[in-house]
């Protein structure tokens, strides 16, 4: 690693992204917004309050977190794999003074940036659904970025292991979709039976979803420090593993 060399990778990806800006935004934001509409508005009208919030209010912050996850993870799977194989972008980059560590950091920070952007747009869209976030929501942004780093790193791990695009079906079906459904976005984890609750709280998206809910409404009922430390540790491990595996794939 050499200073901020990874930034040049970020700039390269940004340059390409600018050309497909509309398609990527719709791809990343369509799903969470439709869920918000169908579940929050459609289903939520018939439901009583959950944890002191309307159902729409309850699920909105979690859907922000899920937008970050989807955007980051898809960027470093389908996007990065295309750069690794079809376009040979990594090969071209490694013939310059950029090293594998710079490359990995650049890709992960890029994926996290796209994730954060998706999260921010979701947050900005919430008032349209009658949800007004508290000023604490600003403190949520670094956490969304951190979560973006984690899921970018996970995506890059998959890319380093992938033999073809179909491999990513395992990742989306067995990791991303279950996380979307069981990380406390749609139902409160706290009221589950203790063993189930313990299991669900170990999932990497769960602490981000509860932090999102806490900071969105400024309601500090539960401890947040452990969630932050846990997320930091998990992200650090994922980034290191992504670096190790991609190096193994690129340098024979």
């Amino acid at each position: 690693m050499n200073g901020f060399s990874f930034w040049t990778i970020w700039l390269r990806n940004g340059r390409v992204w600018k050309k497909h800006i509309l398609a990527t935004l719709i791809g990343n934001l369509g799903q969470p917004l439709l869920f918000l509409l169908a579940m929050g508005y459609g289903l939520g009208r018939e439901m009583t309050e959950v944890a002191g919030l309307t159902y729409l209010q309850f699920i909105a912050p979690g859907l922000v977190a899920s937008a970050v996850m989807y955007s980051a993870a898809l960027e470093t799977t389908y996007g990065s794999y295309t750069r690794l194989t079809v376009q040979k972008t990594y090969e071209a980059i490694l013939m310059t003074p950029i090293g594998v560590v710079d490359l990995v950091l650049g890709e992960i920070v890029w994926g996290a940036s796209k994730g954060l952007l998706a999260g921010v747009i979701m947050l900005l869209a919430l008032p349209l659904f009658g949800v007004a976030p508290s000023p604490w929501v600003v403190a949520l942004l670094p956490m969304l970025f951190l979560s973006g780093m984690f899921f970018s790193a996970c995506g890059l791990i998959m890319t380093a292991l992938a033999k073809n695009y179909d491999f990513f079906n395992y990742f989306t079906s067995l990791v991303i979709t279950p996380l979307f459904l069981f990380s406390g976005i749609f139902f409160p984890v706290a009221t589950m039976a203790p063993p189930v609750r313990g299991l669900l709280e170990m999932l990497p998206l769960t602490p981000i979803v509860s932090l999102a809910r806490i900071l969105c409404y400024g309601r500090f009922g539960e401890p947040i420090l452990l969630k932050i430390i846990g997320s930091l540790l998990a992200t650090g491990c994922a980034v290191c593993l992504a670096g190790y595996l991609l190096r193994r794939r690129l340098i024979q």
Binding site: N2, S5, T8, L11, R12, R15, V16, K19, H20, Q87, K88, T89, E91, A92, I93, L94, M95, T96, P97, I98, G99, L250, I251, Q252
Partner: protein, 352 residues
């Protein structure tokens, strides 16, 4: 096509100016400026006439020995042709120079710096034209160059200046805003070459630089490579087009089964190992057998391949030409690099 004149300036450095006259008579003045001094490490300036020095380089992939204890050196300003059949270990060798394959044993010094330990410093001074197109398909011609300049962290103004120079040098300035998809094969290759030169490399590694191009496009690239050579750029060239290698290289190195077969001046190697001239004679098996059996016209080596007889003459063999007479089933030609290559690596196909 455009004509090119080269002017050398006195003193050290690689300052040379190529004047490119455009088709419509309008002239573009193109200056390939000096190697920027900030890239030179403070030590290592004085010594280095040897740009690449490889000793005992070895690579094993599991049990398979791909590069077997090879040693070679490349002197400053030389173009070395790096030849060998598919699977001979050329690409692995180059990738070890670039740090993309880890060596199993041996030592690599580039600009007197140890590779891959100083890969960053080394690669700042190398340009690579890869065999496979690795241009960014979503970006325009100009954006591709600017992005690559970013990887070398060239200051913005310098990058703009170099991009302009290179677009003109490779006759791509009219296509600067075109996206890569719309370029022809020749234009893509020229852009790959331009990209490799963005950091004004002292060593240029060319992996099959004209593969799949039409003769016009190949000649344009050779012309530009000749200018770079005149400016003192050291080159390592791999190609299966041996006429290309003969044209550009002062030294060749033929690799097979991971070992160096020969190394030296191609003209000298051809004379020493093949001969002066070659007769290729077509005919029936009986005719050719008879001719081979009675051959005593000059000092030569004979080879039968299918319904052809090759005679590699070590001296003038006009007597044979007289015997063969006016029929059109034979040709007489100078011995070339292809003969040397086939002689050293055999005729059997290499399909890995």
């Amino acid at each position: 096509m455009s004509s090119v004149r080269i002017f050398f300036t006195k003193g050290g450095g690689s300052l040379a100016q190529g004047m490119v006259a455009g088709r419509a008579g309008h002239r573009i003045y193109c200056v390939m400026s000096q190697t920027i001094s900030q890239q030179e490490p403070v030590s290592n300036l004085s010594g280095g006439q040897t740009v690449v020095s490889v000793t005992g380089l070895t690579k094993r992939f599991g049990e398979r020995l791909v590069v077997d204890n090879i040693s070679f050196a490349i002197q400053r300003g030389q173009c070395v042709g790096f030849l060998g059949p598919n699977g001979a270990g050329k690409t692995t060798c180059i990738n070890m120079l670039l740090g993309l394959v880890e060596k199993s044993a041996g030592e690599i010094l580039i600009f007197d710096l140890e590779a891959p330990r100083f890969h960053r410093e080394i690669k700042a001074r190398i340009g690579v034209v890869p065999q496979a197109d690795s241009l960014d398909p979503d970006l325009s011609v100009e954006e591709n160059l600017h992005t690559y300049a970013g990887y070398f962290r060239l200051p913005h103004r310098l990058a703009r200046q170099r991009v302009e120079e290179l677009l003109h040098f490779f006759a791509l300035h009219n296509r600067r805003d075109e996206i890569i998809e719309h370029l022809s094969g020749g234009q893509r290759r020229r852009l790959l070459l331009a990209r490799a030169l963005i950091n004004e490399p002292e060593l240029l590694i060319l992996d099959e630089p004209t593969i799949g191009l039409d003769p016009q496009a190949r000649h344009l690239i050779w012309e530009r490579l000749a200018i770079l050579q005149a400016q003192g750029t050291t080159m390592l060239l791999t190609s299966h087009y041996l006429d290309e290698v003969s044209r550009l290289s002062q030294q060749v190195l033929i690799l097979d089964h991971g070992q160096v077969m020969v190394q030296g001046d191609p003209r000298q190697l051809i004379t020493d190992l093949v001969g002066l001239e070659v007769f290729e004679i077509d005919g029936t098996a009986t005719e050719l057998d008879a001719l081979a059996a009675s051959f005593n016209h000059c000092n030569a080596a004979l080879e039968r391949v299918g319904d052809k007889l090759y005679i590699y003459a070590r001296e003038d063999c006009s007597r044979l030409a007289k015997v063969l007479g006016a029929s059109d089933n034979w040709v007489r030609r100078p011995a070339n690099l292809e003969d040397l290559f086939i002689q050293l690596t055999g005729r059997s196909l290499r399909e890995s």
